[in-house]
């Protein structure tokens, strides 16, 4: 039923012009501790900017609960609410319409690899952070400022449980930090080889893959939270770091 609704929404959305009052809802970044969500928000934002679509970002503490799918970010375009990266991409605007079918399927393959490896690696970090955060809440009330006691630690605990469940479902829960670092290394190596010396992954114009790579890598590179092991892995690949800087200056310079 939800799938039908999504498909219907996408078709309806495509036939209409992009409205002026589009809002991108996401949580506050300062208190935002969920790295994968942060990466997703950044990817969607990068995609919309690459498409040259007008939108405003709106920060809400309860953005996650407001979202129809329960995940951030989501956009409000007129009467439609579209959440997460793939539905937003399917909403009607595409960066890959002029690409050949082979390129497009290759792009899909890279995107799913990215989601599987970097997505899970970020989740792995959250677990560490959440554990740290629970300890910190006792001493540092800063983390609990969006929710009053005792909701702050109840919600943190719930998030941790959901996150562990996700990792268990993907068979990642038993991996050690070294194994995860190895996976991240493989993923970055593949991306780095694909990017090579090009401006973007598929030539001179950005695609959905570029938006997503930027979202994940930028989040991992700039996070102030203890994501140490992966940051150093990514820094090993010079062209990826430069790619992030390039996208940042081209689309996020304002």
């Amino acid at each position: 039923m939800a799938l039908v609704a999504d498909a219907l929404q996408a078709t309806i959305g495509a036939s209409e012009p992009w409205p002026d009052d589009v809002l991108l809802y996401q949580q506050y970044k300062a208190e935002q501790i969920t790295l994968p969500d942060c990466a997703q928000c950044l990817a969607v934002e990068a995609f919309l900017r690459m498409c040259g679509l007008r939108f405003n970002v709106k920060y809400k503490t309860n953005a996650e609960e407001m979202s129809p799918s329960g995940k951030v970010p989501f956009i409000q375009a007129g009467p439609y609410l579209v959440s997460e990266f793939d539905p937003v991409v399917g909403f009607g605007f595409s960066l890959s319409s002029e690409m050949s079918d082979t390129d497009r399927s290759e792009m899909r393959a890279y995107m799913s690899m990215l989601e599987n490896i970097l997505g899970n690696a970020e989740v792995m970090i959250i677990i560490m952070i959440i554990m740290l955060m629970i300890m910190m809440i006792v001493t540092k009330p800063r983390y609990g400022c969006s929710y009053p006691w005792p909701l702050n630690w109840v919600l943190a605990w719930r998030k941790q449980r959901a996150v562990v469940a996700r990792l268990t479902a993907n068979d990642w829960a038993s991996k050690t930090m070294e194994e995860v670092t190895e996976e991240v290394h493989t993923c970055c190596l593949a991306l780095s080889e694909k990017l090579d010396k090009k401006k973007y992954f598929f030539g001179d114009n950005p695609t959905e893959l570029d938006a997503q790579v930027y979202g994940h890598l930028y989040t991992l590179l700039t996070t102030k939270l203890p994501g140490g092991p992966f940051t150093s892995v990514i820094r090993e690949f010079q062209n990826l770091a430069e790619f992030c800087k390039r996208v940042d200056s081209a689309y996020f310079s304002d």
């Binding site: 939800a2 609704a5 809400k60 503490t61 309860n62 996650e64 609960e65 407001m66 129809p68 409000q76 609410l81 929710y147 009053p148 909701l151 109840v154 919600l155």
Partner: protein, 472 residues
């Protein structure tokens, strides 16, 4: 000799009357025709020598002693019977005994005017349970209950409940009640609960998890209840079509509130009263970051009058209700689940359930104040079929309802404020049949004509069916 003389008749009469137990009254004189000895029990002197309470296992002695101590002061036989009956009523109210039977006998050691009183009590079982149905707001639910009466021996009660409703509502709760000072009217209660409910008229669902502590005590005027409640509420949009103004409020919130409820209830029946009145006023203070943030006052008045020529059996009812909510803290906002809603087949008839007031894409948003008034005239069924039997459960009624709902601006003068309250009034009238389903619910089938409807209201002219306990 006096002792022998006094012994036979009273004990004889008491043995006769014993099985009825409760029916003991002051007119205890033996019948004149079959008894030669005339006795005036008001004058028989009595000295209570022993009081035996049989059947106590878990109950602590002190609460029983407290209730039966006055018996020792009985001077005459009449007084003794009276005091024993009072003690029995008090003991039954403790919530400890299933039943209490009194037996009065002469004392075994043959002292002059010596009597002894025996209370045979039966305690409640240690664990009791049950399944029953309850009905509220056009929604039925099945309740499973496990209770432990008298858990600590002084009338304390602990119960566990699980509720499943027809509209995907479900909840658990644990409740502990302790009478204070061994008085069953003054008690302290504490509860922990989780409840999930769906509110389709506003397009949201909510899970509440909370704890509450309350104190109930009676005064000369009525009963008071003071409650502190802390609840974690998780509000979510019900469907994809939920209006954005409701969706915006989704998320977790913590509500801490102090509530005072004052109730006077003199009605003879909660579902279809014939005489009496119910007055309930509650005020809630929401506490947000150590300050009082929202004040919410709601009052409810129901009056029944039964003084027409009684053979016609007509009852007149007047009802008034109103609520007002005001934010005291500029940062605080009132969640949709705390707001007032108006409309429904048992309140403002002629409108859909919560169908009045501001809406956004078919979702009722509620408002911060309302008033509601109703007048009813009940009569028995025409030609009185089933008179004295099931026909008494049915009544026909004519009614007029009026009400309004809106957000108030306190900055303006009071005159324009009153104008606004009245100018957008809704009202309707109609007639129908009321059925009283035991003490569970009230069923109404009405034909309603909404006379004044405001923009955005969902009126429901014609036949309307309602079921519930609360009505106006």
């Amino acid at each position: 000799m006096g002792a022998v003389h006094a012994k036979a008749p009273p004990s004889g009469t008491l043995r006769d009357s014993q099985p009825t137990g409760i029916k003991t009254t002051s007119t205890f004189a033996p019948k004149k025709d079959d008894n030669v000895i005339k006795l005036d029990i008001d004058k028989i002197p009595v000295r209570v020598q022993r009081i035996v309470v049989d059947g106590l296992t878990r109950t602590k002695d002190d609460i029983v002693i407290r209730e039966i101590r006055p018996l020792l002061n009985a001077k005459t036989f009449d007084e003794l019977v009276h005091l024993s009956y009072n003690a029995k009523v008090k003991m039954e109210r403790l919530g400890v005994f299933k039943n209490v039977v009194i037996a009065i006998d002469v004392s075994k050691d043959n002292r002059e005017y010596g009597y002894e009183v025996l209370f045979e009590v039966q305690e409640f079982r240690r664990i009791d349970g049950g399944i029953h149905t309850s009905i509220s707001n056009n929604d039925g639910s099945l309740d499973f209950q496990l209770k432990m009466p008298n858990i600590l021996g002084r009338g304390e009660r602990f119960s566990l409940d699980y509720t499943v409703g027809t509209k995907r509502t479900h909840g658990y709760s644990a409740y502990f009640k302790k009478p204070l000072n061994n008085n069953p009217d003054i008690f302290f209660g504490s509860t922990a609960y989780q409840f999930h409910g769906e509110y389709p008229w506003s397009g949201y669902k909510q899970t509440d998890r909370g704890i509450a502590f309350d104190l109930t005590f009676p005064t000369i005027l009525g009963s008071h209840n003071i409650q502190w409640e802390g609840v974690w509420r998780d509000l979510r949009a019900l469907t994809r079509d939920t209006s954005f103004s409701v969706r915006e409020q989704a998320g977790h919130s913590l509500k801490s509130s102090l509530k005072h409820t004052f109730t006077i209830d003199t009605r003879d029946d909660p579902i279809l009263p014939t005489v009496g009145m119910l007055w309930r006023t509650s005020q809630v203070q929401f506490i947000f970051r150590k300050h009082f943030s929202v004040l919410d006052i709601e009052t409810f008045f129901n009056f029944f009058y039964y003084n027409f020529p009684s053979y016609l059996g007509q009852i007149f009812q007047m009802s008034l209700a109103g609520g007002l909510m005001r934010t005291l803290d500029p940062v605080a906002s009132v969640s949709i689940s705390d707001r007032f809603f108006l409309g429904g087949p048992l309140t403002l008839r002629g409108f859909n359930l919560k169908g009045c007031g501001p809406h956004s894409h078919d979702n009722a948003l509620g408002a911060e104040s309302y008033w509601l008034a109703a007048a009813h005239l009940y009569s028995p069924l025409p030609f009185r079929p089933g008179k004295g039997r099931f026909g008494e459960l049915f009544k026909t009624h004519f009614f007029v309802n009026a009400g309004n709902l809106g957000n108030l601006d306190f900055s303006g003068c009071s005159k324009s404020f009153l104008c606004r309250v009245c100018v957008k009034m809704r009202w309707s009238y109609g007639c129908g049949i009321v059925l009283c389903m035991g003490r569970i619910a009230r069923l109404e089938l009405n034909y309603v004509v909404p006379m004044r409807v405001q923009k955005g209201d969902k009126a429901n002219p014609g036949l309307q069916f309602g079921i519930g306990i609360q009505f106006l």
